[in-house]
Every structure is written in structure tokens, then in C-alpha cells.
Amino acid sequence: MSTQPLLEVDHLKVDFRTDEGLVHAVDDVSFRLGQSEVLAVVGESGSGKSVTAMTLMGLTRSPNARFEGSARLRGQELITASDDELRKLRGKEIAMIFQDPMTSLNPVHRIGKQIVEQIQAHDDVSDAEARDRVVTLLDRVGIPRSRERIDSYPHEFSGGMRQRVMIAMALSCDPGVLIADEPTTALDVTIQAQILREMRDLRERTGTSIILVTHDLGVVADIADRIAVMYSGRIVETGTLDEIFYDPQHPYTWGLLGSIARIDRPRPHRLPSIPGQPPSLIDRPEGCHFRPRCRHEFEDCPKYPELEGRIGQAPGHDDRCWLPVEEKRDRRVVADGQIGLEAEGATA
């Protein structure tokens, strides 16, 4: 990873006006993405992970949206860029693949044409040249008989194959950054494994940086270099893969890690779970957003927690929890080497 980050996001805020009130979808999100790095943005629904990703692409722009903060791709500002400037970057410098491959391709156009459309939007190439590029791309993402299949319609492909097409499309202009929003969630596990392997290979070969938006910590462990854990619109903890998995600092991260059923461990009598529900994005608790569900709440928690490194932590491993580091290491439950929560009664 080079020292000059490819993408720098600082204090990004996204609010949406709705009939019920102002939805604070993304609140003070900052991160760096280095060259050929895979950053996993992890969180549950409503955590703001998808909105963050889509905002980088300018896909959340609407009369009801309000943006603050900055996001710079190779120094170029994305948040305040004009629609036209952003359009030139989209698909060229920064590309995206989406969750549902069944609905993400236009059913009425041939897949080759849909990819050619993107190539010709950015590069001045002839139809024949663009087509050749598409064939190469389809080969690269493992679509057999690419020369014939280029003229197929999306419905003639399975979900896994469509997701390969989406990846080929995203890679068609050699983007510096690839945003993958839950790319394997809608797929079966054996197909998911194929797609993840494809993404790993691509990163090796092309050096593309990837922002992987997901709720699945298994997928994260499989592919990510660094992780940002989001909760209620904020990044609550960020660090390297090993830091987050083996030295998590934020009680929400503990809960997340602890509540996954794992096939490689003896099964506990009860799955540890985080009690309660995530707060509404309209009416959030003061200070730490995780406070109402946290067992370790104390008098500092209503104060606004900055995302920062604390004494005793490795640089780059930041979190938003007020507990002192020693206290955290004491309090988080480590059973059989597994970080988790107290196992007893967390159901109701």
C-alpha cells in the first residue's frame, strides 16, 4: 500500500428530508483507501454503509438530499463536483457493482451492448474495438464461450453469471476504485465462493482498490485488508483485518463478532446476541449511538465520541468508544480465543 491514499473521505454527512423528519443516513464518516487495498465497510441495515458507497458515486443526489464534508479521488473532490464532472468519473475512475444481479442489468438490452455503452461513454473507440474489449473482459471474469454469450440477454444467464457480467462491466474502463455493494449476498454459497475468488484474482492482477460493502463478516475475513464497522450512520471502529477480528475495541464490534453462528467452533447453548434494536436515524441518542444497547454504558457516553486512536492502540486502529483501552480488553469476553459477548440471556 502506497503512502498516498487513492480516496480520502473526510467528515462526510448525508441527510435526507422525508415526511417523518430529517434522516441522518451518514454522520461524520472519514476513511482512507490506499492503492490496491480492500476496505470492507461492515454494518447492518440502516447503518449507512450503502448510502456512503452510493454517495461516492453521486447516486444519492436528489433534491431531498443534503451533503457535507468531502471525498477526494486522487485529489479531485467528488461531493461538490458538478453532475457532468462526476459522470465522467463514474464508470471510468470509480465503478460499482450491486447486490442483486437479477435486477441490475437492463432486461431488454444484450449484455455486450450494455458493457459497450459504458466503454464508449468514456473512451473514443469503434464498435468493433469496444466489442473486442468486452470479449476479453468476459473471458477474464470466467464466462465461457464469451464470443457467443456477448449477444445474450441477461435473462439467459444465471445469477452467478450475471454478477460476473456486472464485474466485467465495472472493470471495463480499468477503474482505480471498485465499490462492491453486497456483491455476493443474493448468491448461493458455492457461487459466492466463485465470485469472491474472482474478485481476489482481479485485485491481484489489476491492482484495483476495492470498497466492499457487506454485512457478512465471513466474506470480510476472506478478502479484506482493512475494515470500517458502521453503526447508525457512523464508523464506530476501523482498523486492519486482524485488529478488528482479534483486538476489537468497540462493544458493538464485540457484539457483531459474537453473534455469528460459526461452523468451526463448538456450538454454544445460546447464541450471544445484542439486545434491542438499532436507533431510528431521525431521532438518535445523544453522544454514542450504541449507548441504549450497550452493557458498558457509563457517565461519559452521552458526550460525542470522536473516531480516534487511543493510548495503547496501534496507529490507524480508531474507534468511537469512551471506555479506556485496558477496561475494554478486560471487559470483552474471550472464550476459546473467540471475542464475543456474555453468552447468557440476551433474548428479550
Partner: protein
């Protein structure tokens, strides 16, 4: 494709047979529908009536009568009971008038409906959108006979901007005369449809615009124009084309009876209305067959176009 066409042709024959049979049955059973009475005249003796019955074959069984009528329709020998002229000739005479009306109006309502619908969708919720919604509702609710009479009276008769009704074939008055005579009928007939089409398209566009593949299209970095044209509008047009084909077939087959009557176009619809009023079975039967033919034909064409527009649909 060949199989599809053959299947459609068989389907067409069946539909026309069923429709004509039902029509014949209705007129056969309708009280006061006995044509012999009318043909024989008001003061005919029972003997005269019986003679007429024999001459025209009304004494034959129902099935024979139906068969004869169908046969005559296709040989062109069908004679009207009231005017005693050849029905098929009247229809051939009226068809260009009806076609002129249908083709022109259908083009207008398609183009205007799509344009207004798209405009409305792009400004959804804004004042202009709401204004167009009201306008569309007015268009949909205005009865043709009223709107037509109004247009005819004020724009035609009073202001003299247009001829008040009638039809001039191109071969007689030239293109311009024909066109001038058609403007009002076209506009009046199209008004109703423009309202419907613009509403349907608006809602389609608003649905489509939130589809995942439109988001993908935007993420590709293609121009907004292209996103709207090739992705949003292209996909929103699929139901519109279906609707249009069916409506067009209906109007082509003489369905715009009121418009034809109000503007005295003397097309097939006009003839139909007149024949029904006189309980004149032969022309009614023939026009029904004529109408059914176009409706079924357009239905088939719609299916082909539909499959071309949406590759997920396959013919066969």
C-alpha cells in the same frame, strides 16, 4: 415465427366466427328484428311477408341463414335489407375515411401522450406535473360527442377556421383539403387517449426510474439523456405499445363511432351506427367482422412487437 403466424391466423378465424355468430344470434332473437316485416313494407299482407321470407330465405333454419350470410359476406354479394345496396361496397367506400381518422389520431395521441407523460414524470410533484394531471383528467372525462360538437360549432362553423365536418378524399380535393377536414376529428378523438396515455406513461417512467438497472446505467457514467432514453423510456414504452396497438385496432375497425358521426365522416363506424339503428343485420354482421379482423390483427402485431421490445417474451 411461421408457427406463430399460423397459430394467429387460426385464432383470428375462430374469433371472427364466434363474434359473427353471436352478433347474428342477437339479431335473430331480438324482438322486432324480423327483417321480412320491414322488407315487405308497412302495409304488407301476411302473404306478402311470407313471399319476402321465401325470397330472402328467412324461412330457412337458423344455421342455414347464418351460413348463407357468411358466404355472401365473403363473396361480396351481401345486400342490405333497408337500402338494398351491396354492403361490402359500402364498407370499401367507408374504409379510407375510417383509416384516415384512425391513423392520424393514433399517431397524435401516441406522440403527445408519450411527450406529456415523460414531461410530467420528469417534473413529478411539481406544479407543471399537477397541471398536466388535471388536464389529462379533463381530457379523459370529456365526452367525444360534446367536445366534437363544440369544436365543430366554434372552430368550424363560427370561426370558420376549419370545415364543419365531412370528408374529402385526397384524390378529389388534394392533400391539403383532406388534411383540413381531418384536423378536428383527429384532435377530438386523440384528446381522450392523450389523457390516458400520458398518465400511464408517467407512472411507468416513475416506476422504471427506480429500477436497479437504471441505477446501474447511471453508475456507468453515460449521459443522463441516454439513461432516460435507452433505459427508462425504452423500458417504459413496452406497456404503452401494447395499449396503443389494441386501441389502434379498435379505432381502425370502426370503433370511433361517435367521432365519425359527429364530424359526418361517413366511415365504417358511421355506417355501423346507421345500420344498428335500422336493425339492418347484413351490414352489422359485415362491420363486426371487419372490426374483429383489425382488432385480432393488431393483437397479433402487438405480440410480435412486444417480443421484439422485451426479449424475455418468446413467441411460440
Amino acid at each position: 415465427m411461421a408457427r406463430f403466424i399460423v397459430r394467429r391466423l387460426i385464432g383470428m378465424a375462430i374469433v371472427m366466427l364466434v363474434v359473427s355468430f353471436l352478433t347474428f344470434l342477437i339479431f335473430f332473437k331480438i324482438p322486432g328484428g324480423d327483417p321480412a316485416d320491414r322488407l315487405a313494407g308497412k302495409y304488407a299482407t301476411p302473404g306478402q311477408v311470407a313471399a319476402v321470407e321465401r325470397e330472402w330465405g328467412f324461412d330457412k333454419p337458423f344455421w342455414i341463414q347464418y351460413g348463407n350470410m357468411m358466404e355472401k359476406t365473403f363473396t361480396g354479394d351481401l345486400i342490405s335489407y333497408t337500402r338494398q345496396d351491396k354492403v361490402v361496397e359500402r364498407i370499401i367506400d367507408g374504409a379510407p375515411r375510417t383509416f384516415s381518422l384512425a391513423i392520424g389520431a393514433a399517431l397524435i395521441w401516441l406522440v403527445l401522450g408519450v411527450a406529456l407523460g415523460l414531461f410530467s414524470a420528469l417534473r413529478a410533484g411539481a406544479l407543471s406535473d399537477r397541471f398536466l394531471t388535471v388536464l389529462a383528467l379533463i381530457g379523459i372525462s370529456m365526452p367525444v360527442f360534446w367536445l366534437g360538437a363544440l369544436a365543430n360549432y366554434y372552430l368550424g362553423y363560427k370561426a370558420g377556421l376549419f370545415p364543419d365536418g365531412g370528408y374529402v378524399p385526397i384524390s378529389e380535393g388534394g392533400l391539403w383539403e383532406w388534411f383540413k377536414h381531418m384536423i378536428l376529428p383527429w384532435s377530438v378523438l386523440a384528446t381522450l387517449f392523450v389523457g390516458v396515455y400520458s398518465r400511464v406513461l408517467r407512472n411507468q417512467v416513475l416506476d422504471t426510474i427506480n429500477d436497479d438497472y437504471v441505477r446501474t446505467a447511471r453508475a456507468k457514467g453515460i449521459s443522463e439523456r441516454r439513461v432516460m432514453g435507452r433505459h427508462v423510456l425504452r423500458n417504459s414504452m413496452i406497456p404503452i405499445v401494447t395499449l396503443w396497438g389494441l386501441d389502434f385496432g379498435y379505432v381502425l375497425g370502426g370503433g370511433a363511432i361517435l367521432t365519425e358521426t359527429v364530424f359526418d365522416l361517413q366511415g365504417v363506424g358511421d355506417y355501423f351506427a346507421e345500420s344498428i339503428g335500422a336493425l339492418d343485420v347484413p351490414p352489422v354482421m359485415a362491420v363486426v367482422l371487419f372490426g374483429a379482423f383489425f382488432i385480432v390483427l393488431l393483437n397479433g402485431i402487438v405480440d410480435i412487437v412486444y417480443a421484439a421490445l422485451d426479449p424475455r417474451i418468446r413467441l411460440s
